[in-house]
C-alpha cells in the first residue's frame, strides 16, 4: 500500500501557505501530524497533487490561558494536551477525553487542529468542543474569522472551513466554578474508534444539574448536542426518573447509523446507557 505520487512543500509562514493553497485549490491537502492523512494516502483513498506541511509555521502551536479563555493552537499535539497542567485544571473534559485518542505513538504526532478539521464522527475533540462551547479560529489570506464549534461541524467529514482557509486555533472558555465534566466512550479495544461516546459538561449545585451540555459522538455525522435531554434534566437531581426521562429523549435527537458491528438500535441503547452513567458520575 504505497502512497501515490505527490509534491511536498513546507511553507515557513501563513502567507506562503495561503499562496500554495490558493494556487493548487482542491489539489492541495494540508499536512500537520499526518496521522489520518498519511494513512489515507497509503490506502490510496485520495490522490492530492501537493501536500502543504504546516508544521514549520510559527504561532500555530501551544496552549495558553488568557483571561477567561484557553487557547489551543492547531498544531498542539495530543501528547501536549495530555501533559498540559492548564488543560487538566481548566478543561478537565478534554483531559479525560485525550487518553482515548488512539495510542501513544499516534498522540505524539497527531494534532488538535488535524482532528477538528477532519471531523471524524467518532473523534473525541469535536464533541468536547461542542460541549464546552468552544470557538475555532479560521484564517485565510489577510483575514481571520471565528466560528462556534456548534456551527463548525456541518456533515460527514464536512466543516465550515472554506477552500484557502486554515484552522489556526481553538478557544475554550475556562470551566466556571461548580461545573463538572465527564467524558465516556465505548470502544471494543483501548484506542479504537468509539462506537458511541458522550462529552458531558454541566453545573452541579446541591446535587442538581443545570446548563447541561451533552454532546454525543457516533450519533450522527457530526457531534450531536442533546438539548432535549438537557432540558429534561434542567434543575433536577439525576435520580432514576430524571435519568429515564433524559434517556427517553435520545431516540428523537440522535441519528445513529449502523456500523459493521452495531445496529442503530444497539448504538441508541448504548447511548442511553452512557447518558445514565455520565449523569451518575456528574452527580457523584
Amino acid at each position: 500500500m504505497k502512497a501515490p505520487d505527490f509534491a511536498y512543500a513546507k511553507p515557513g509562514s501563513l502567507s506562503e501557505a495561503f499562496d500554495l493553497l490558493d494556487r493548487h485549490g482542491d489539489g492541495a491537502r494540508i499536512l500537520a501530524g499526518g496521522q489520518s492523512l498519511l494513512a489515507s494516502l497509503n490506502l490510496r483513498l485520495s490522490e492530492p497533487e501537493l501536500l502543504v506541511d504546516i508544521c514549520s509555521i510559527p504561532g500555530l502551536a501551544g496552549i495558553a490561558v488568557s483571561g477567561q479563555t484557553l487557547r489551543i493552537g492547531a498544531l498542539t499535539t495530543h501528547r501536549q494536551i495530555e501533559n498540559s497542567t492548564e488543560i487538566t485544571r481548566h478543561l478537565p473534559l478534554l483531559a479525560q477525553a485525550v487518553g482515548n485518542v488512539a495510542h501513544a505513538a499516534i498522540r505524539n504526532r497527531g494534532t488538535f487542529g488535524g482532528s477538528i478539521a477532519l471531523a471524524d464522527p467518532a473523534a473525541e475533540y469535536p464533541v468536547c468542543a461542542v460541549a464546552l462551547d468552544a470557538t475555532f479560529v479560521l484564517a485565510r489570506r489577510g483575514a481571520e474569522r471565528r466560528v462556534k464549534a456548534r456551527e463548525f461541524f456541518r456533515g460527514l467529514y464536512e466543516t465550515a472551513l472554506q477552500p484557502g482557509e486554515l484552522l489556526t486555533a481553538g478557544e475554550f472558555p475556562l470551566s466556571a466554578a461548580g461545573y463538572r465534566s465527564v467524558f465516556l466512550e465505548l470502544a471494543r479495544r483501548q484506542g479504537d474508534y468509539a462506537i458511541v461516546g458522550l462529552a458531558a459538561h454541566a453545573l452541579v449545585a446541591a446535587g442538581r444539574i443545570s446548563d447541561a451540555r451533552l454532546a454525543f459522538l457516533g450519533a450522527g455525522s457530526t457531534p450531536v448536542l442533546a438539548v432535549r435531554a438537557a432540558a429534561a434534566l434542567e434543575g433536577r437531581q439525576p435520580d432514576a426518573q430524571a435519568i429515564a426521562a433524559a434517556q427517553a429523549t435520545l431516540a428523537e435527537e440522535l441519528e445513529m447509523s449502523a456500523d459493521l458491528y452495531s445496529s442503530r438500535a444497539t448504538k441508541l441503547h448504548l447511548a442511553r446507557v452512557l447518558l445514565g452513567r455520565a449523569l451518575g458520575a456528574l452527580a457523584a
Binding site: M1, A7, G34, L38, L43, S56, A104
Partner: protein, 171 residues
C-alpha cells in the same frame, strides 16, 4: 526547512533531506511519498523497523523521532528533515534498552520477533515517561503494538520487571 515544491508527475519528485539516524548525519534525495519506515529500511538498510499494516495500527514500524515514539509508516521521510531518528539498531548498540532486551529474552516475551522492535520502542517510551506504571497501565500503553504470537502476558511481565528494577536503581 524546505520551501521547495514541484509539479506532481509520474516521476517521483525528490527533496534533499538531512536527518540524523542513530547518531549519524545522513543526507539523501528522498521521494516525497516515501514514508520514514520505507526510507530507513530500503535506503539505509535499517531493517529492524518492520512494515505490518501501513495504516498506523499495528505498531511494527515504531521508531523514535526527536525523542518521541512515532509510526514510521505515518511520517514522510522528508518530514524528518532536521530531525533526530533512533531505530532499534541504535537503541541496541548504545545499550539504552539492554535491560528491556534482557528481560524480554529471559521471559520469552517474543516469538517470531516481528513485533519486537516496535514493542521495545513503545516500552522504552512508557518506562521513560511513566516509570511508576502499574500492570494495567502497561497493558493500556502497549495496546498500540499488535502481537499475534505471545498473547502479551510475558511482554507485560518483562516490562513490569524492568520498571521495578529501574525504580530500584534510581533509589
Amino acid at each position: 526547512m524546505n520551501a521547495t515544491w514541484g509539479h506532481a508527475s509520474n516521476m517521483d519528485e525528490t527533496l534533499l533531506t538531512t536527518l540524523t539516524v542513530n547518531g549519524r548525519t545522513v543526507t539523501r534525495r528522498i521521494s516525497a511519498r516515501q514514508h520514514l519506515s520505507d526510507f530507513l529500511r530500503d535506503e539505509l538498510g535499517l531493517t529492524g523497523a518492520h512494515t505490518g499494516c501501513e495504516h498506523g495500527v499495528c505498531g511494527a514500524c515504531t521508531v523514535r523521532v526527536d525523542g518521541l515514539a512515532v509510526r514510521g509508516c505515518l511520517m514522510l521521510a522528508v518530514q524528518a528533515d532536521g530531525c533526530k531518528v533512533d531505530t532499534i539498531e541504535g537503541l541496541s548498540d548504545s545499550g539504552e534498552i539492554a535491560d528491556l532486551q534482557g528481560a524480554f529474552h529471559r521471559r520469552n516475551a517474543l516469538q517470531c520477533g516481528f513485533c519486537t522492535p516496535g514493542m521495545l520502542m513503545s516500552a522504552q517510551e512508557l518506562l521513560s515517561s511513566r516509570p511508576d506504571a502499574k500492570r494495567d497501565e502497561i497493558r493500556a500503553h502497549m495496546s498500540g503494538n499488535y502481537c499475534r504470537c505471545t498473547g502479551y502476558h510475558a511482554i507485560v511481565d518483562a516490562i513490569e520487571e524492568v520498571a521495578a528494577s529501574r525504580r530500584e536503581g534510581r533509589k
